[in-house]
């Protein structure tokens, strides 16, 4: 299955999708996150397939409710289906999404090899979203939510979250 790109979705629907945000990372819309798998439209009824980021991500239920609410305000009824395949990876996140993450103070995911080295504490590759230094250090591979790790910058001394690479 191909992940639908904004161009594949009717502009009217896309505009509504872009108003629904991740409750845990509120700067990201569901389109930025890349969790959208399929949108089927039948008149004013929509079936929306989304894929969870992590299996137990508690934000998914909230996102499903928020999608329903947003669409009902525009006269649509919706069924939300959680689908596991194809599994979500951090590559599905849009470039705009990654940029918004950084601006929000969360370091965006590195590619898989660099990520592994960073999370094993072997290499200093995660860039501090506040001062840009890579003189950073892993505090814990498990952070405030399932998708993040906890880092600290040794230059500006600020702690920050790093969005883990998932592939």
């Amino acid at each position: 299955m191909v992940i639908p790109q904004p161009a594949d979705i009717a502009p009217e629907i896309l505009a509504i999708l872009e108003t629904v945000h991740d409750p845990e990372v509120p700067v990201l819309t569901v389109m930025d996150m890349g969790i959208m798998r399929k949108v089927e439209q039948n008149g004013t009824h929509l079936t929306i397939h989304i894929s969870p980021t992590y299996s137990g991500c508690p934000a998914m239920d909230t996102i499903a409710d928020d999608l329903k609410t947003a669409f009902s305000e525009h006269g649509f009824t919706t069924d939300i289906e959680l689908v596991l395949a194809p599994a979500w990876t951090t590559d599905d996140m849009s470039e705009a999404g990654k940029r918004k993450l950084e601006e929000y103070g969360i370091a965006s995911p590195l590619e898989a090899t660099a990520d592994k080295e960073a999370l094993m504490g072997e290499a200093h590759k995660v860039k501090c979203p506040r001062c840009g230094s890579t003189n950073t250090h892993l505090v814990s591979a498990f952070g405030s939510t399932a998708c993040k790790a906890h880092f600290k910058c040794k230059d500006c001394l600020e702690p920050f979250d790093y969005f883990k690479c998932l592939k």
């Binding site: 992590y54 299996s55 991500c57 596991l84 395949a85 599994a87 814990s140 498990f142 399932a146 906890h150």
Partner: protein
């Protein structure tokens, strides 16, 4: 219980994650430090996420009920988890050792399920594999840190391993259902998982300076629905809300 092999296989898989996830959730607010507390509850969340996928699918096969009724409304004998995951959080060394013995099994299990002929199981495996890899990395690091740490941490880890190792055999003792699922190309081949498990555990035991005891395997028939004395207490806690307020939702 529904007499359907795939249904029973899903319970077998899901119950291990459910009970271990519950044990880890007991540590919420009680971890030895903030980072470890958060890490272990993150593990718990991942496991519960997998449980939801297994049980949603099980409810669909059963044609009745929901993931909640599968999780909360069975009797003890209908739970098919192994005894390892029921073992209590005696101390941090026990928590880590139990987790490591499990993770070293869980990662190759997920990899095997990715190749399942059953599409849903293959998808659950693909999702779980990434999470299991993170978990194994975490527990392996702590095994080394405790085993190769102070005299006290080493003593505690060795004593945890002495207690828990006997329960690891049950993971690989193939039940009827597992055999059938393996033969149909749906389930994992436990023999192959054992090979992987041995490689991983021997390697980490070596770098942690601990050695497994040669005590005989614990007599454990969790996969047949017989449990340790801990299980009743676990279920009392897990099921209380659904029993007291049937069909309640958050």
């Amino acid at each position: 219980m529904l007499n359907n092999s795939l249904y029973r296989y899903l319970l077998l898989l899901g119950d291990n994650s459910l009970i271990l996830g519950h044990r880890l959730s007991e540590l919420c607010g009680h971890g030895p430090n903030l980072e470890t507390d958060i890490a272990l509850t993150n593990h718990s969340l991942d496991l519960f996420g997998q449980v939801r996928s297994y049980f949603q699918y099980a409810a669909k096969i059963a044609g009745e009920g929901t993931e909640d009724s599968v999780a909360f409304l069975r009797y003890e004998k209908d739970y098919l988890n192994v005894h390892l995951v029921e073992q209590p959080n005696t101390d941090f060394a026990h928590v880590i050792c139990r987790q490591f013995l499990w993770d070293a099994y869980h990662l190759p299990l997920m990899k095997a399920l990715m190749k399942s002929k059953d599409e849903t199981l293959a998808a659950i495996g693909a999702k779980g594999e990434k999470e299991a890899a993170y978990h194994l990395r975490f527990s392996s690091e702590w095994m080394k840190r405790l085993g190769d740490g102070t005299e006290e941490s080493h003593k505690r880890l060795q004593s945890a391993l002495d207690h828990l190792y006997r329960y690891s055999y049950e993971l690989f003792k193939e039940s009827e259902v597992e055999k059938e699922m393996k033969e149909k190309g749906i389930g994992a081949d436990l023999g192959k998982i054992l090979e992987e498990w041995k490689k991983t555990t021997e390697d980490i035991f070596r770098s942690s300076n601990v050695s497994p005891s040669d005590d005989p395997p614990a007599i454990a028939k969790g996969k047949q629905g017989f449990h340790t004395e801990h299980m009743g207490f676990i279920l009392a806690q897990i099921q209380y809300m659904q029993r007291a307020y049937p069909d309640m939702q958050w």
